[in-house]
Point group: C2
């Protein structure tokens, strides 16, 4: 029984870590911070297109980056233990993210982000500025919800 | 004539900066460093699939991220003046990148990266591990070439 528990623990670690299983926690934190910086940069580009002159081509490109990242398995950047540590700056992830009681909430956060990012890429292709603005609001709602639940507030970006 | 020169200078600045025109240089450096960290992370994932067990699904996802970033207008992250400054760490960009004599070389570096990244995404879809390995080598060649020309060597990643 102890052996079985150990094997399950090893399997879960390998599964959660994926290709990042051999990375040091601080490198995973660094890649997580970089990944969400890139998402934020492209969210900012789309926002500037909604607030100002709408350049469809730019919105398509930025929506494609957010979509590709959202589909790339970002859960592998949330390896247990990476709430503590320093990547580019101190981790802002709440330990709550790894509380088994929150496992479904965390999974839902990933899948909501993924779903709204996919939908934004579709609407950026076929919709006008108003349609993109509506869908963009839904995408940003998934960012805010996940940050409210799992990110420690900080001035660090 | 002075007014004309001023207008041209303003136009060039707006063109080069795009949506990032209003960003502080250090924020542009930070986003550039984050962007290439994300590219490197997905290059690493593809490499681990070539060196070990080949999971096509993972390769497709990582190739899609690299492709979307390569198509997103990364030249807007290379705004004149951003060879000096600190994002997540000190800028590693050589001042050479903004030497007018190197303008074509820099443009070619972006377009080569873009072309090989697009090709990798195609081959990840239709090719086997060996075909992906060959194309992956071509993509990494564009990274190395640009780093050799325009990046200051450093232990910082």
């Amino acid at each position: 029984m102890q052996l079985r528990s150990l094997l399950i623990a090893i399997s879960l670690t390998l599964y959660a870590g994926g290709a990042l299983a051999q990375q040091k926690p601080d490198d995973t934190i660094k890649t997580r911070q970089a990944t969400f910086n890139v998402v934020a940069a492209h969210v900012g580009k789309i926002k500037s297109n909604i607030d100002g002159e709408y350049r469809r081509d730019q919105v398509l490109k930025s929506a494609a980056v957010i979509q590709a990242i959202a589909n790339s398995g970002i859960e592998s950047l949330f390896v247990e233990g990476t709430d503590k540590g320093t990547g580019y700056h101190e981790s802002q992830l709440k330990a709550d993210a790894f509380n088994p009681d929150n496992a479904k909430k965390l999974r839902d956060a990933f899948s909501n982000f993924n779903e709204q990012a996919n939908q934004l890429a579709v609407i950026a292709n076929i919709g006008d500025k108003a349609a993109v603005q509506t869908q963009f609001g839904k995408l940003r709602g998934t960012c805010k919800s996940c940050h409210d639940n799992f990110r420690i507030d900080s001035t660090a970006k």
